[in-house]
Symmetry: D4
Subunit: 251 residues, 8 copies
Amino acid sequence: MKLESLHRLLHLVATGKTSVDDAARDLQHISFENINFAQIDHNRSLRKGFPEVIFGQGKTAEQIISIIEKILKQEDIVLVTRVNRDKANKIKSHFPDIEYHEDARMIVFKKNEIPMQGKGNILILSAGTSDIPVAKEAYLTAENMGNQVEAVFDVGVAGIHRLFNYKKKIDEASVLIVVAGMEGALPSVVAGMVSQPVIAVPTSVGYGVSLGGLTALFAMLNSCSSNVAVVNIDNGFGAGYFASSINRVGS
Amino acid sequence: MKLESLHRLLHLVATGKTSVDDAARDLQHISFENINFAQIDHNRSLRKGFPEVIFGQGKTAEQIISIIEKILKQEDIVLVTRVNRDKANKIKSHFPDIEYHEDARMIVFKKNEIPMQGKGNILILSAGTSDIPVAKEAYLTAENMGNQVEAVFDVGVAGIHRLFNYKKKIDEASVLIVVAGMEGALPSVVAGMVSQPVIAVPTSVGYGVSLGGLTALFAMLNSCSSNVAVVNIDNGFGAGYFASSINRVGS
Amino acid sequence: MKLESLHRLLHLVATGKTSVDDAARDLQHISFENINFAQIDHNRSLRKGFPEVIFGQGKTAEQIISIIEKILKQEDIVLVTRVNRDKANKIKSHFPDIEYHEDARMIVFKKNEIPMQGKGNILILSAGTSDIPVAKEAYLTAENMGNQVEAVFDVGVAGIHRLFNYKKKIDEASVLIVVAGMEGALPSVVAGMVSQPVIAVPTSVGYGVSLGGLTALFAMLNSCSSNVAVVNIDNGFGAGYFASSINRVGS
Amino acid sequence: MKLESLHRLLHLVATGKTSVDDAARDLQHISFENINFAQIDHNRSLRKGFPEVIFGQGKTAEQIISIIEKILKQEDIVLVTRVNRDKANKIKSHFPDIEYHEDARMIVFKKNEIPMQGKGNILILSAGTSDIPVAKEAYLTAENMGNQVEAVFDVGVAGIHRLFNYKKKIDEASVLIVVAGMEGALPSVVAGMVSQPVIAVPTSVGYGVSLGGLTALFAMLNSCSSNVAVVNIDNGFGAGYFASSINRVGS
Amino acid sequence: MKLESLHRLLHLVATGKTSVDDAARDLQHISFENINFAQIDHNRSLRKGFPEVIFGQGKTAEQIISIIEKILKQEDIVLVTRVNRDKANKIKSHFPDIEYHEDARMIVFKKNEIPMQGKGNILILSAGTSDIPVAKEAYLTAENMGNQVEAVFDVGVAGIHRLFNYKKKIDEASVLIVVAGMEGALPSVVAGMVSQPVIAVPTSVGYGVSLGGLTALFAMLNSCSSNVAVVNIDNGFGAGYFASSINRVGS
Amino acid sequence: MKLESLHRLLHLVATGKTSVDDAARDLQHISFENINFAQIDHNRSLRKGFPEVIFGQGKTAEQIISIIEKILKQEDIVLVTRVNRDKANKIKSHFPDIEYHEDARMIVFKKNEIPMQGKGNILILSAGTSDIPVAKEAYLTAENMGNQVEAVFDVGVAGIHRLFNYKKKIDEASVLIVVAGMEGALPSVVAGMVSQPVIAVPTSVGYGVSLGGLTALFAMLNSCSSNVAVVNIDNGFGAGYFASSINRVGS
Amino acid sequence: MKLESLHRLLHLVATGKTSVDDAARDLQHISFENINFAQIDHNRSLRKGFPEVIFGQGKTAEQIISIIEKILKQEDIVLVTRVNRDKANKIKSHFPDIEYHEDARMIVFKKNEIPMQGKGNILILSAGTSDIPVAKEAYLTAENMGNQVEAVFDVGVAGIHRLFNYKKKIDEASVLIVVAGMEGALPSVVAGMVSQPVIAVPTSVGYGVSLGGLTALFAMLNSCSSNVAVVNIDNGFGAGYFASSINRVGS
Amino acid sequence: MKLESLHRLLHLVATGKTSVDDAARDLQHISFENINFAQIDHNRSLRKGFPEVIFGQGKTAEQIISIIEKILKQEDIVLVTRVNRDKANKIKSHFPDIEYHEDARMIVFKKNEIPMQGKGNILILSAGTSDIPVAKEAYLTAENMGNQVEAVFDVGVAGIHRLFNYKKKIDEASVLIVVAGMEGALPSVVAGMVSQPVIAVPTSVGYGVSLGGLTALFAMLNSCSSNVAVVNIDNGFGAGYFASSINRVGS
């Protein structure tokens, strides 16, 4: 339930325009709603400023459809992450208006445009072309949570002059998300150049001792630059969400 | 070199109060200073808003003393992390005015009080009593970077009512640092309650499959709450620094 | 061989209603039966109170069918775990009366209803919707071993008020099974609330440093709550079996 | 606070023998008590049937003394685990009446004898002589939580006839704790013989690929016997606690 | 080249029945033969008593066919391990007389029956039915290297009376191969009963922390029984080969 | 951009044969070229003596085609690594003149023959037949960077006389690349025989505790011979590239 | 109890020279003897041909002394492994006649010389000088179990001509024990030269990715030579014991 | 034995100035010398251009002294690595002329100055001050093998302008050694700037998920720059040796 809906409803009750009984019925799901295979957390948007996001992996298309239905009754937007094309097609046949972003494996379903809520720009950098899907997931998440977002891809350290070319964009951002696989060196270099918070996202791009992204993850956690924190491997969603939470601090 | 010192110097040159030659000599170390075993990064405070912090582990007391001397010529404050009591005593015999915090293994040496620069409060929570040293390192770092900081220790999930008792403090903070060892569950629970960014710090507290903190680290990276990012095991310093960088976003 | 059958047979011998020779022939398989690719442990139900359960993974449908045939000659129930749909179909074409539970990948084949033997209720909680298959395997196992079982799904710590809503059910259970993937925090929180034994089941739900369930497993083994013991990743069967053994203690 | 004390106090209030004000003062710490470096969970004995047990590792002797003082004001018994001789001596010089068990690294401090509360016997088996310290920690924990406990040491599988000699004791126990290092095979063999719950405790005894107990732990989690659950490496305390919780089921 | 062929050829030269030139041409490949993608080690049967065995994994059917052709010119038998059905079919269409054992994924191609060369019996035990493919690979290897071999499957420790039933066979063997997955406890128990060498073979049977066989491997390496040595996970071939080398010691 | 092209262009400007404006337009991409999903590093051949090599894994055929087009405008050769047959076919339908080497999974596209630039011979040795694909990737890379290259396959330590047969080739090489899976012993043996640099390439050939090549990698890093350095698992490309860089030292 | 003592005693009973009662008292400990902290397996020398060997690690000097006392009442020899100098001194002050081998950390205590029982020679090779302590443990074990043993140290693959120099000794041995740390390549090379069984012993010699011996262990398990089996890291005792069991096959 | 000594001796024989018997006695140790605990490889300097280097770890001071004595009879220089101060003192009391470098834990003992043999400069860069000991080991090794060596310390990526300041030195080197701990990013950045071979040396500097240097090692093996090869963690010696072998290619 959005905060403004709650205010509006309570105002109607206060002014007698809605009966207590009617309001009670509306509010009964404000905590959460039990649909047997899920306990939908309708309280989340009140508590956290954004409705529950559905983790698509390990859920059936049917389960996802049911959860979307319940959330959309109370919210203006719903995101689903980690959805492959097959599941997305089944969901789209039920909700034709969803946007499905195949590279980011993400569904966005919104009733209205999202108002800008963050204070500054979020800049997303990727080390390589192969890291783009994870960077896109971060992009879509941050954008749909109401932030100004920009992205530059393929500026890894093998040709570091490419990075320095974007120095101005980097300086102007309020938060940076840096996505890299293999040796995961880019976040350290970027964080060494700036004072803003840098969110490092390791990807599973690589082979051999890239260990499915563990090496990039561990490298980022050992960054010799101090303004770096890290999210799980390939977790573009978490990076976008965390950047958005930073971008609202003090607002 | 502090930004205001740079401005003052350039102003003196512009108004003819300092000769170009004198200014050049002062500025020659603005990039960095080579003292053979270290290239001191005097540019860091211009670039990042805080002077280089010395990583004490693996350096001799003599090396640390030399680096402190060079930094203090240009800065008002210097921090040294991961210093054991023996090294600290040697350093203190050279600089009697340093504060040494044994539990946090940290040296703080400042010429003046640090002005408040962050916009909100940083709240530090620890799961157990044994996690306090790491939490203290975060506390000292954030405080000395000019932030309002508060801490509550020993509110782990084995008795979760203790945590809920501090709900008000939690809601009022602008950024949260949550420190935990063992199963590392506390950051997920805290982040599930709020919309602010939560910085999770795994500690090496535990035994057996705590694996020196790896389990807490991995648990935090897998948090089912999305407003969580993570730093290295026992890295209280990094958490405090990162929190400070968030607390200045938009300022 | 069921205990009551053994008693009945010996009674018939004692009263002269069965000849020693006939009884000897019946009893010859009481230890185990060699069918070349398996040594079926018919003694198990005497020794452990429940017949051998077939671990379906790595066995062919033909092997499973042969083993079921042998067990059913002496027992009233047989369970087969980790059976995919293809194998299940082959087995069903031979034994049309089996129940196959696809989500739990489990076959239940029973001649009669199972009498209640446990003393209290077993309550199963899952952290997420994606953990349901493992929770179901625990459910079916415990139920078919003669216990009162109940389950609540999707009460993970990202919205902890959902868990507290089921406080009464939790307090009334004699044993709890808590199933969770990702950071595996739920068993610690639940065990911190109660005095009963809590069996923690890590699942392979997650990605990146969930490490196929290792992170949840290690987190649960490090629980700061003391009334927790753990079974293998995705081992719903073991959790159900262990809960049943607890539920009969003292009976 | 013990449950009976709570009842008695409320009865005194109900009968007017204690004023509301006096009772309120007594009850104010019933939730928890903040002594800055710890939030002592006085509610624990109401909730879990046994007061908070102090995890000694990583705490100073001074911190442990303060916590003991606070707990003993409300409880009849306090246990401290993982205390080395040095710390124990400092604590003993403050509380001369504590018992310190050096092999189990455990402090027991009790005002009265513990009444028997469990229903059956708990039997502890260790595979080797070197596993005895962990087995002793389990013994002391279970015994001081009010259970009948017995132990047999050094019955590992290298000479399996030694185990079978204790078959009668094994059959008569209500719960078994089986402690083993190295290959950790003993719990599987024991659990294969009985129907009761078997709590497996891996120890760090061994070298090379015993990996500090990880191998024994993983072996136990993979037990081909189903009535087995596992606790952390060297966690004798947890095994004793869990066994005690089982031994009270239904009581 | 077989040792007897070498002797025969040299005898023919010594007696003038073969010219030096003809013999030289025959002997030129006695060291090895370069067929570009392989250097076939024809010296191996002289040096090791058995011709080169082809490791089928990672080789194409065409490569395997070429190598078989070269070996068979000089030897009476060739084995190929780790061949799936597809490759086996291609090879069989070229050499219709090969035997392909699908469960053991092994090709045996021999011109004559293998004479018995080992001195005693090799006994193979498997813990479960799912371990049979690995046990079969050991069986075929040892048998085709000229040994008397016997096997008993599914005598794991969950029902240890099944194992004791085969005590006589176990005592009479000269070497034992014990195959087990999951917790890998069987070799310790068997080796504790006898004085002969026990070769332990871990298998990848299991799930979760069986870690693809690593747990069984590590458990076996930590055996508390001392007459145990271990081969790689699922390496039935190596176990059979090693048992055969033991069975010829002193002959 | 090739170094000679740059010189020629500047010469034309210096002699007035090209206008400054025309030259500027040509040179504008000399740093790098932004095609949105990639920042093509045209400066690389000036800086490193060889144009950017495309890492094919994780890129779509369409992305690879676009990048090839841009590189070929400025260079005479382009290599693409880790391309499977499907992608290669799509690319070949666009650029019919590419050579695709399926075993090495590599595309070579060159306008002219590559002039020899290295000073000595590079010799590639593989331990087994299954290691050939990785050895071939090294071969093609070194050859197309302008080196004399030779290869000998299948000279692993199980029949070490095969290796010694090639002693002369080994002695004459200026640099050696040694490719091995399983226990990865060959580089140590080879490096023990010679004074030249030996580049060790671990492969993922093996099973069980070969751990996908980690064991061979670690063994090579622990070589008791000192003239050994190592590249990532299966990284034939890196080995060829590194050998080429050695072969030009001093030229 | 030694086999011959058992025979002698039974003979005395059969001939009436010992009363049944006296014999019974002597035989009562033939199974095992319970001394509370240990169940001494006196049956072991009957069952396995050698009395129980004491694993010294994790036992106190007092415990070891008690166990030695009990064993020596029935046996002619006792070995204790993994005893450091301090413990050894305490034991020696109680049993002045023990031999303590500090490099091998082993105690040998024998009443008489050990008669030769093995059929051939056991040859021990070590790769380096630092591996000697482990090789010595193997040497002492095999020798004291009644075998002809010889050793050559420091013949690792960095200078492989040293190994070939001992070709004759190698060919004449009936069993080989090959001890190596670092990359663990020596067993593969040795096993490639001979047909006898090779027991590989990895040591913890090395640093970095030697991983405390794991790399050598894994390399040995992946040996491309097939007549190799492996024991735990630094387990010289197990290698000597296993070699001895091979050396008696058929005797 | 040095190559020139061998030539000189053979020349003396050829010209009759030395008798065959005398020469034979001198040459008898040319292959290797057995001093029981070591087989000293005197052939190494002929084969590899530099005498055997003694790996000090795990050897006693007495063993090292004996080996030095033997080597110095035939060579002009001997190096000992990984020697702590205690051992060094014992060795120095025997050979007062050795140089001991405590930071590099290395002994250098030479009769004459080493002639320059490499063709270009070797440049060593370290990321931090704490990495200097490893860098020094590389420095001493390369220098004493006859190379021009230079070093710059503390130019890690947290302040990357420090690195660029040394661009000219970097461009002029023939080989680069780059030493880094923590995230190990420096080799990638350096290798991206140049065409020469870059030898990456991971160090164990760091904490938490630096994993004793594994993270830096893996990061370097995953370098997105291709002219990088890697040696073991903290293996400065190997890096210096390998650089030296490169620096002589073609000479």
